[in-house]
Every structure is written in structure tokens, then in C-alpha cells.
């Protein structure tokens, strides 16, 4: 079945991320409309790693579990799928800095002028995980990050955070800042992106997801909203239970 998207991948060079992929068109007389969504989201399905190597993924899952550790009430970053999220993001436009301004010259400016590195997130993670791996093995008798004990892992991360460790080719603290941004995004974004599996992040805080109608609840002050969260993929109750 043709949808609009398949027509126009080639034309999408300048329009990465815009929601209408129609050619320049002349609009008159009617509001334009055609069936099917303009650009429905890609839904991440479980499967083999698409960006990370197996070793990178193992390390990344361990990192995710330190940034958001598991506890009796809520899973940690690993089980919540933060690494799956990140794997698909880095494979996609986020990873390649698609849509960003990537012309040179690349000059490092002030903090207020924003990031100026030509490094893409994909490159940052490759080099960051490589640097982490190298550091851990050199300082822990050949053990990679995932093989360390939890408190040792925390120790390494704290050192990176404090700027006490240098990685080859990248700023280690920049890598850590990216982790602190990306891993929680994997924990709290809609499960269609691969993380927040079973909406565990949303359940933890009581965020109801994509529910669009709260009119009955605006005036109910200081009362906890009781309904379970729902994602773009729905929730279990959407499928009839077989009796």
C-alpha cells in the first residue's frame, strides 16, 4: 500500500523532520487533505541492536542502570529499555545530527553560544563508550564497565562527571552530559521510541501519557488522577481479553 512517505524520500533532503512531505504545491479552493496521516511516528520494535555493538550495548545497559538504578518499586534504566531507545535514536536522525546546521568553520565559542563541535551524537557515543571501556580495563585489571561492581561503576561515573578522566578524541564530560540527558529521555519518552517499556517511567511519577481529555478533572483539586497511563501504542486494555 502506497503512502505519501514512500514517494518522497528523495526529496526529503532539506525537509528532514517536517511533517508534510508533499512537493511544493499550489493550494486553492479547498483545504488540502488526503487519507492517512501525514507522518505517523515510527514504532520501535524489539530486535537486534541497530547501532551499538554487543559490547557497547552491554556497557550502555550497565550505565543506564547506574543513572537510573532499579529499585523494588520501579525498574532501572536497563529494564526500562533506555539502551534500546538510545540505540534507535543514535541510528536515526538524532545520531547523525540530521537537520542541524553543520557548515563550518567549527570554532569553539563561549558556553552561551552553544555547542560548536562537528561531532555527531553517534560519534560521541562511539568514542565515549570506547574511552570508558579503555579506562576501565586499564584501571581494573582488564574488566570492562559492565563487569565492575555497582559502587565501582558509580565511582567511575563520578570521576567522569568531575572531569577527572580524559577520553581520546572527545570531551569526557560532554559525553557524560549527553548520558544525563539521553538516558532519562529513554526512561520518560513514549514507549514507541523503545524506552519506558510498559510505561514504567510514567507509572513511577503518575503521568497518564497521551490521554487527551481531562475536562472532568480540571476542577477536581488536590485529588490524585487515578487512570492508568496510555501510550501512542495504547495499553493492554485496548486488546480484548480472551476468555
Amino acid at each position: 500500500m502506497l503512502n505519501r512517505r514512500t514517494f518522497l524520500i528523495a526529496a526529503a533532503v532539506w525537509f528532514a523532520g517536517t511533517t508534510s512531505l508533499t512537493r511544493a504545491s499550489l493550494v486553492r479552493e479547498h483545504m488540502p487533505w488526503s487519507p492517512f496521516p501525514s507522518d505517523e511516528p515510527d514504532i520501535v520494535r524489539p530486535g537486534p541492536w541497530q547501532f551499538f555493538t554487543v559490547d557497547e550495548a552491554v556497557a550502555m545497559e550497565a550505565i543506564a542502570d547506574r543513572i537510573i538504578p532499579p529499585d523494588p518499586e520501579t525498574p532501572g534504566g536497563k529494564q526500562a529499555g533506555c539502551t534500546v531507545f538510545l540505540d534507535r535514536q543514535l541510528r536515526g536522525p538524532y545520531g547523525s545530527s540530521a537537520g542541524l546546521y553543520r557548515s563550518g568553520p567549527f570554532i569553539k565559542g563561549s558556553k552561551e553560544q552553544g555547542p560548536q563541535s562537528p561531532l555527531t551524537p553517534a560519534e560521541l557515543y562511539r568514542k565515549g563508550l570506547a574511552g570508558l571501556d579503555k579506562y576501565c580495563k586499564a584501571n581494573n585489571g582488564g574488566k570492562g564497565f559492565a563487569e565492575l561492581a555497582a559502587d565501582q561503576q558509580d565511582g567511575v561515573l563520578k570521576k567522569i562527571e568531575a572531569g577527572e578522566i580524559a577520553f581520546e578524541g572527545i570531551d569526557a564530560r560532554g559525553f557524560f552530559d549527553a548520558l544525563l540527558k539521553d538516558v532519562p529521555e529513554g526512561f520518560f519518552s513514549d514507549p514507541i521510541h523503545g524506552g519506558n517499556i510498559d510505561m514504567v517511567g510514567w507509572k513511577m511519577i503518575g503521568f497518564p501519557g497521551i490521554r487527551y481529555d481531562y475536562r472532568d478533572w480540571v476542577g477536581r483539586h488536590n485529588e490524585r488522577y487515578p487512570n492508568p497511563p496510555v501510550s501512542i501504542m495504547g495499553r493492554a486494555d485496548w486488546t480484548p481479553q480472551k476468555s
Binding site: 505517523e40 486488546t239 476468555s243
Partner: protein, 410 residues
């Protein structure tokens, strides 16, 4: 709207039953104006004008029938490729008897079984109007349907079964308004061409007139007033719907969008009222009572409805007047055939925009988001809960609907 036009419309109304008007010459303005109005009521343009071509009546538009596609001919006055060389008698024979110029019989995609109810004068006036249209040189190859319908003689049998020629006869026991409405619905409006159930051979099942039919991937619902879907609509509701494409209960979408846009929104208020009065009086079956639907399915459908649909249709399905249909009052929801319900959920639908109701809200598509079991549950819930217990929809129904839509061109 200028004075002359108002007078002409008034004249047209007077001439409706066609017994009052005198025979008009080709230069007679009132005949042309009457013909123009009748051509709108008969919606000639929806078949004979290719959309967005800006060439009225030049033909070439493919018309989908259950038996295959037919191409509508060019009815501009072009002598070579249009009907410019036809005599008035030949034109009349085509419209009211289904006979082509060479004597062959037309397929009833040209709704001559309905147009036969118009008078000779009516059709002469339409001809007078068409003669004023810009002639367009557009050769249209009028095609044949597949064998055995390729044999024009096959139409002899069909006509014998389903074609009763004859002008409209008023019912003296009914009001003038009712009769005007009956004339419009049975005659130029040819509402039954979409809304009346058909036999396997494509003829009307006249005993169940206007009780609904599915064509071109859309279900034209039961529009009988007595006990059918429009039971809850007032005469004014029907009038507003036909005039603007929207009323407090529902919105015209799909094939009906075009009918509203090109035809009913341009009829006089009196005529719309007449149509409404007539429809409210056509008897039809009472809606199905609550049918057996699996409670687990209903629960799932209800969950989807509250999560996804309530944002527009409201928690109780009553919608927003003139914007989002009231699911309990929208005729298509409770139609026996769930084709429209499934189509709208799967691929969305744009409601019609008219002069008086220009908003044209559209329903988004959910086919990408919900699987077959979920859509079946949702459709079952909506039809059961709001649609007066209309029949459930199965996963298999949804699978077939998806496949059918994928193959569609419209």
C-alpha cells in the same frame, strides 16, 4: 444573489411539477435558469465533470460500479465530441429512457430509472441550459462493462426487470410540500441510486427504498425517517445538513461531501424542506436492538474510545454540534453495513466545507495505530453503545476492509 436569479428560482419552483410552464424556446431565460437549477438538483456535474478540471460537463470521469468502471461522456455542446449534434428528442431519450443516440441502451449508471420521473419539459430545460455551456473538445471513449454486460442487449432484460418509465404522479392525499419532496427524491435527486439496496443485477429493491446501500467503498445509510436512522432528526436538522453539510448531529463526508457541495447546498430552502418532509415520511425498519457482542470486546472498545476518541467525540459520544458528530445520531454509525465506520477509522475522513459551514473538520486515521482486533473492538463498541445496538464487527471484517481500501483508488 441578484434579483433576476431570485425570480428565476421562484419560477423554477413554480415550474417544478412541470404542468404549469409553457414550452420555452432556446433563448428563453427562464427555461435555461430552470434547466440550470434542475442540473444542480440532478447533480449532473458529479459524474460528467472531472473534478478540478474547470471544464464543466466535459466528461472523462471514471464512475465506479459494482460491475466495473464506466467513463462518463462529454455532454457539452461540442458537436464532435459532445452532444452538440444531438436533437432534443435524442437527448430526452437518453435521460428519460436510457437510450443512446444510436438506439443502444445505456447502463443505469446514468440514472434514467430516476430521471424518467421528470417531465419532457424538465429535460428540455436542462438541454437548454447545457446548450449555454462552453463547448469542450474532449473525446471520451465510452467503454463497455465486461461480458456478458458488454452486450447492450443484456440491458433489454435489465430494463424489463427494473425500469418502469413514466413521469412523477403527485399523491393527492399528501401536501404540495411532500409531493415536491417526493418528486425531487424520486426524480432528479436520484437519492435511491446510492441509498436504496440493490439486487445482484444492480436494480433497486424498491420495497426497501432508501434503506441503505454500500458503493464505491462507502455505506450510504438508511435515510428513511419513520423508524430508521433519521428518526431522531427533525425536518430542520435534515434541511441544515443538506444545505451546509453539517448539523448538530452529524457531518457529510465521503461521497456525500460532493453531493452537498455540488448539489444540495445550492437548492432553495423550500426544496430542502420538501425533501426533508418527504424523507421523514418514508417508512423504514426499526433499528436493530442490542445485539450479542462479546463483553470483553466491548470493554476493550470502550477503553480505546475513552483514550483516543473522547477528545473530539466527548466521553458520552455526543460530539460537538456542527463539528464532531454525535455518534448516537449519525446515521452511518448504526448502519447495518459497517463499511463507512471502518473506513473512517482506518483512513480518516474529511467532512465537507460549504459556504455556511466552512470549517470542514476531518477525522484522523487510526489504521496505522490500531490492529485489526482493536479496530474490531472499537467499531463494535461504538455501534453497540451509540448505534442503538448495531451488529458487531469482527477481526476478519477489519482485515477485509483494510485490503479493500488498499486496492481503492478513491
Amino acid at each position: 444573489m441578484g434579483n433576476a436569479r431570485t425570480i428565476a428560482i421562484a419560477l423554477a419552483a413554480l415550474c417544478a411539477s412541470s404542468r404549469v410552464c409553457e414550452s420555452a424556446g432556446p433563448q428563453d431565460f427562464s427555461a435555461v435558469e430552470h434547466g440550470r437549477y434542475l442540473a444542480i438538483a440532478a447533480d449532473c456535474g458529479s459524474c460528467h465533470t472531472n473534478p478540478d478540471s474547470h471544464q464543466p460537463f466535459a466528461g472523462g470521469r471514471p464512475i465506479e460500479t459494482p460491475f466495473g468502471f464506466l467513463v462518463a461522456p462529454n455532454i457539452t455542446p461540442d458537436r464532435e465530441t459532445g452532444i452538440g449534434a444531438w436533437t432534443d428528442e435524442e437527448f430526452d431519450a437518453a435521460v428519460r429512457q436510457g437510450r443512446s443516440r444510436d438506439g443502444a441502451r445505456l447502463y443505469p449508471a446514468m440514472p434514467f430509472p430516476y430521471f424518467t420521473h421528470m417531465s419532457r419539459q424538465d429535460v428540455a430545460d436542462i438541454r437548454a441550459y447545457l446548450n449555454t455551456i462552453e463547448p469542450v473538445h474532449n473525446p471520451v471513449t465510452v467503454n463497455r462493462l465486461p461480458f456478458p454486460l458488454s452486450l447492450r442487449d443484456s440491458m433489454i432484460a435489465w430494463d424489463a426487470l427494473y425500469f418502469t418509465p413514466g413521469e412523477f404522479r403527485a399523491d393527492p392525499s399528501k401536501s404540495a410540500t411532500w409531493n415536491r419532496g417526493a418528486y425531487l427524491v424520486q426524480g432528479p435527486g436520484h437519492c435511491g441510486a446510492c441509498h436504496t439496496p440493490k439486487t445482484l443485477l444492480g436494480g433497486d429493491k424498491s420495497s426497501t427504498a432508501l434503506q441503505g446501500y454500500t458503493l464505491q467503498g462507502w455505506t450510504a445509510p438508511d435515510i428513511t425517517g419513520g423508524q430508521g436512522s433519521l428518526h431522531g432528526w427533525s425536518v430542520e436538522d435534515i434541511v441544515v445538513y443538506l444545505r451546509t453539510g453539517h448539523n448538530q448531529h452529524a457531518a457529510a463526508a465521503g461521497l456525500m461531501s460532493e453531493v452537498v457541495d455540488l448539489s444540495t447546498s445550492r437548492l432553495t430552502d423550500e426544496d430542502l424542506k420538501a425533501i426533508a418532509v418527504y424523507l421523514k415520511d418514508v417508512s423504514g425498519p426499526a433499528p436493530e436492538t442490542a445485539s450479542a457482542a462479546d463483553p470483553a470486546v466491548l470493554t476493550a472498545g470502550g477503553a480505546i474510545f475513552q483514550d483516543l476518541c473522547a477528545a473530539c467525540h466527548q466521553r458520552d459520544g455526543t460530539g460537538v454540534p456542527y463539528m464532531f458528530p454525535d455518534l448516537a445520531q449519525a446515521a452511518t454509525v448504526s448502519a447495518k453495513d459497517p463499511t463507512t465506520v471502518l473506513r473512517v477509522i482506518l483512513q480518516g475522513a474529511q467532512s465537507v466545507a460549504t459556504e455556511q459551514e466552512p470549517t470542514g473538520p476531518a477525522m484522523p486515521a487510526f489504521g496505522w495505530q490500531l490492529d485489526d482486533a482493536q479496530i474490531a473492538a472499537l467499531a463494535t463498541y461504538v455501534r453497540n453503545h451509540f448505534g442503538k445496538g448495531a451488529s458487531p464487527v469482527s477481526e476478519g471484517d477489519v482485515r477485509k476492509a483494510r485490503a479493500a481500501l488498499a486496492a481503492r483508488t478513491n
